[in-house]
Amino acid sequence: MQRLRTVRCLLLLLLLAAPALCGAREYLQVFVASPYLELHTGPGRGYPVFHVVDRDKSVDVLARYTEWFKVRTEQNVVGWVAEGDMLHTVLADGSPFTFNRGDRAGFTQHRFEMGMFAGEYGGATLISAYGSWSFNSQLAAEVSVGQFLGNVSNGVIADIGLTHVFMPEWRWSPFVMLGTGVVHTEPKATLVQPLNRTEQTAYVGGGVRYYLTRRFFLRAEYKNHVVFTKLNSNEVVDEWKLGFAFFF
């Protein structure tokens, strides 16, 4: 009897969860406010226009790929609409459809950014990548990882810290950084000091970012690391790097 009740309960739960399990998805509906909306066959400027949606007709927004929106019309025609054309659509309450775009305003204020660098870490060649999450247009938390390859030693570095951008609205915007991290050093086997070691570091640094176009910007930075060694004095390592980054 108990088991039967459990089975019934489970069946009821399944029934309730069925719409979610079937992937019933609600799409955003927007209305065409310009004379017409062009649908392309693919997500790119070269793909031909194969369908046009009239003013005041609606489309469902299915997905987004870079600067293109995949939409479905009332007649079930599926195509791709350019980001610039989607600016001329409105929501059901008449308010304009707004979204995150890759432009100068996006450069000034965005949520995430990522980038890659080449540079120098204490005289060794450095390859590095970073990701950041912005609290507001000026303050961001950043994580960076890198590998340095030198004649004396190889190793990896990982940093976490805060970055403060001055004048984020400027095309050239300077920033300062402060944080902590670890460095793992593997001296080359031929040298006297063969032991690998992992040490904590702290850094202070600064740099400048330069908006290129769309979602891209260049970034050059300098970090002054203090490596807390087990020796009598701490080690100071300079890191210079230049790279490109993008925001989203």
């Binding site: 998805r25 609600e26 799409y27 955003l28 066959t41 693919g42 997500p43 790119g44 400027r45 070269g46 793909y47 927004v61 299915l62 997905a63 987004r64 790929y65 870079t66 600067e67 293109w68 929106f69 995949k70 929501l91 059901a92 309450d93 308010s95 979204f99 890759g102 990522m114 890659m116 080449a118 060649t125 390859i127 990548a129 590998q147 390859l149 190889n154 086997a189 769309r214 979602r215 891209f216 490109f244 993008f246 989203f248």
Partner: protein
């Protein structure tokens, strides 16, 4: 006479009472007057020339909840191919790729791959091993920028069209081989075709270049890889 005096008193009392009765409403009257004056001042301050509202509309706005739009900018997948390690023959290579599509033209890609080197002709002839088995692993990673330079469509029959693109890749990374890790430049290209919006098939060729002094002379080595791969967008 007495009656005349009474009439006079009564008249005075009635007049006084009437006055008091009318005085009692003066407070409200003054309040109303003050209120009207304030209203007028406010209206003047706002510069509102519109006539007073006859009907106050009680329209409830529809609240639109904007569902999140699914983005398909991230691509991850696996690849398998052949890697020609300079002096060490051609061997199978397998790898993992992850890419983020920034614009319709550019994407940022990270790759990780591994192969195992064979023997040099010297090793085959002399039966002397230059490397230990663990040193023969050729492990690389790189970070590259890709450019879709020939986007297009592929048609299969009358009804099926798939979007496609040739792309160029270039970037930096590192290669671990023969007991050392080297800074590596990579460049190459590939062809991508999408049977659906979220699956892509790839064919690619890439060259990884790094400085090596393994065989006595310090020189640039070219390690060319040809691979096929499958990725998904999400």
């Amino acid at each position: 006479m007495e009656t005349g005096i009474r009439v006079l008193f009564l008249t005075a009392v009635v007049a006084t009472l009437c006055g008091c009765a009318s005085l009692s409403s003066w407070i409200h009257h003054r309040q109303a007057a003050r209120q009207a004056k304030e209203d007028q001042q406010t209206a003047q301050a706002e510069g509102d020339d519109t006539p007073p509202r006859v009907i106050d509309p009680q329209v409830e706005r529809r609240k639109i909840t904007v569902p999140k739009i699914k983005s398909q900018n991230v691509e991850i997948g696996l690849q398998y191919g052949a890697l020609s390690i300079e002096n060490f023959g051609t061997n199978p290579v397998y790898g993992f790729t992850a890419a983020y599509h920034i614009t319709e033209d550019f994407f940022f890609q990270g790759e990780f791959g591994r192969s195992q080197a064979g023997q040099t002709s010297f090793e085959t002839l002399s039966n002397i091993q230059l490397l230990t088995p663990s040193e023969r692993y050729f492990t690389y990673y790189d970070l590259s920028l890709g450019y879709n330079f020939l986007p297009g469509e592929v048609f299969i029959g009358r009804k099926l069209a798939m979007s496609s693109a040739f792309y160029l890749l270039g970037g930096i990374g590192s290669t671990q081989f023969a007991g050392d890790t080297k800074f590596t430049l990579n460049f190459g290209g590939g062809y991508r075709v999408l049977p659906t919006d979220w699956i892509a098939l790839h064919i690619g060729v890439q060259d990884r270049v790094f400085q090596s002094d393994l065989l006595g002379v310090d020189k640039l080595t070219n390690n060319i890889e040809a691979n096929i791969g499958a990725t998904v967008f999400f």
